[in-house]
């Protein structure tokens, strides 16, 4: 008990001192801001890449499942998609990041942000693909048939009728995936990319003070996630307007 009280006393006494040391001195806050921008940059472009890959793979997989007699090329494409999903979902994201940076782009002088975007984008794409596929399957088959019976072709039906409804159903899962992705980028330090986490950790190693830099980083992540969740909720409400009674 006395230990806790001493800790709190100590903490309050030193608060402004520590704050100055860890955040203000030597412009350390700039490190945090720069790290935050890197984190946002990586997350944003990885999300975009993940969405593109995810939708393409999902459409390939669900089209394959409904095709009665797929031709050889289609079989190969579907097989590649399946391998992609299995490998990406079956290995840790840190390993994938390290492989992208140190193996695939070993001989090229690649920007670390680009390497991170590629690694996290490819990783996210696999999860997005499965989410979107479940969304496509959740849309009643009759919607698809109605579109086709009016003379729309497969892709017109998919894009104007099935996907908008699928998207509405999967939005919570998709939003969650992006929140996970934002937090996953915190392992970017493994390729020495100065993201938010790495910035905080760098300050820690300079000041020998863990509390302030790490909690600052945690707090910023929390705020970002809360903003993202609020955004998803609003988007969901907007997409649900056709459900009003």
């Amino acid at each position: 008990m006395s230990f806790i009280i001493r800790f709190i006393n100590n903490f309050i006494d030193n608060f402004s001192d520590k704050f100055y040391q860890n955040i203000i001195a030597e412009n350390r806050w700039q490190l945090i801001i720069k790290g935050l921008l890197i984190t946002l940059e990586v997350t944003f472009f990885a999300v975009l890449l993940g969405i593109v890959i995810g939708f393409v793979v999902a459409i390939i997989r669900s089209t394959y499942e409904t095709t009665v007699k797929p031709n050889l090329l289609f079989k190969i494409i579907n097989f590649i998609s399946k391998v992609y999903l299995t490998v990406i979902r079956g290995t840790p994201v840190i390993i994938q990041l390290l492989i992208v940076y140190f193996v695939i782009f070993a001989s090229v002088d690649i920007n670390k942000v680009v390497a991170a975007v590629i690694a996290f984008g490819i990783n996210s794409g696999a999860y997005v693909a499965e989410i979107v596929r479940s969304g496509i399957m959740s849309v009643d088959k009759g919607q698809f048939e109605a579109g086709r019976s009016l003379g729309l072709n497969y892709f017109q039906t998919m894009i104007t009728i099935v996907l908008p409804q699928a998207l509405k159903n999967i939005l919570p899962a998709l939003g969650n995936e992006f929140i996970v992705l934002l937090k996953e980028t915190s392992v970017s330090g493994y390729i020495a990319l100065m993201d938010l986490t790495k910035a905080a950790d760098t300050i820690r190693s300079r000041t020998y003070e863990a509390f302030f830099p790490l909690l600052t980083a945690a707090f910023i992540y929390l705020i970002l996630v809360m903003i993202l969740s609020a955004g998803v909720t609003r988007l969901e409400r907007w997409l649900r307007k056709s459900d009003r009674r």
């Binding site: 019976s149 104007t160 009728i161």
Partner: protein, 241 residues
Amino acid sequence: MIVVKNLHKKFNSEIEVLRGVDQHIRPGEKVVIVGPSGSGKSTFLRCLNLLEQPTQGEIWFDGQLINAKNVDIDKVRARMGMVFQHFNLFSHKTVIQNITLAPIKLKLQSPEEAKENALQLLRRVGLEDKADAYPSQISGGQKQRIAIVRSLAMNPKVMLFDEPTSALDPEMVGEVLDVMKELADSGMTMVVVTHEMGFAREIATRVLFMDDGKILEEAPPKEFFSNPENPRLKEFLSKIL
């Protein structure tokens, strides 16, 4: 207008749902198909616009063999309207968007034309006040009337109805049948799978009885109902009338 020759359909290469159907549907005819459930009537109807791919046989529409390779089936379907048991209105679109989507997307009409046309059709079925409603906000009978209108907006040459009143509450059947009757009077060629014998008697030019994947009897409604020949049709009619 539609000629069907020796149509076979197998599911999972085992269950044979259609076992050789021949039909000739002429312009302006209203063909009603009745039969017990599982007899293949819906499958037959769905083969006509190739929502089901036949395993054997020929389907001709407007002088074109449509189940051949290299046929642009989307072009064919644009000229064949289809109404489903469960309406299948696009639930994320308003009523008017449901109706105008295909004509605009397929560039058959300009957005203004399509809208004008849609409103006129809605007026015809007395639902112009629902133009901006979403499908979840209207009743089953209204949904089905709008589904019919959605098909009509494509100016089809033939309309296929797959048990259009089977999913409706009884008090809503009438309003849908009225629309179909009006459509029949306007000269539309219609193929209707239904359990509404009253409708068959009143509207059909020909009634087909299907059982076990075959057409066992066909006749004008008067003969069909008063003088059935096939024993299975007799049994069927005795159960439902």
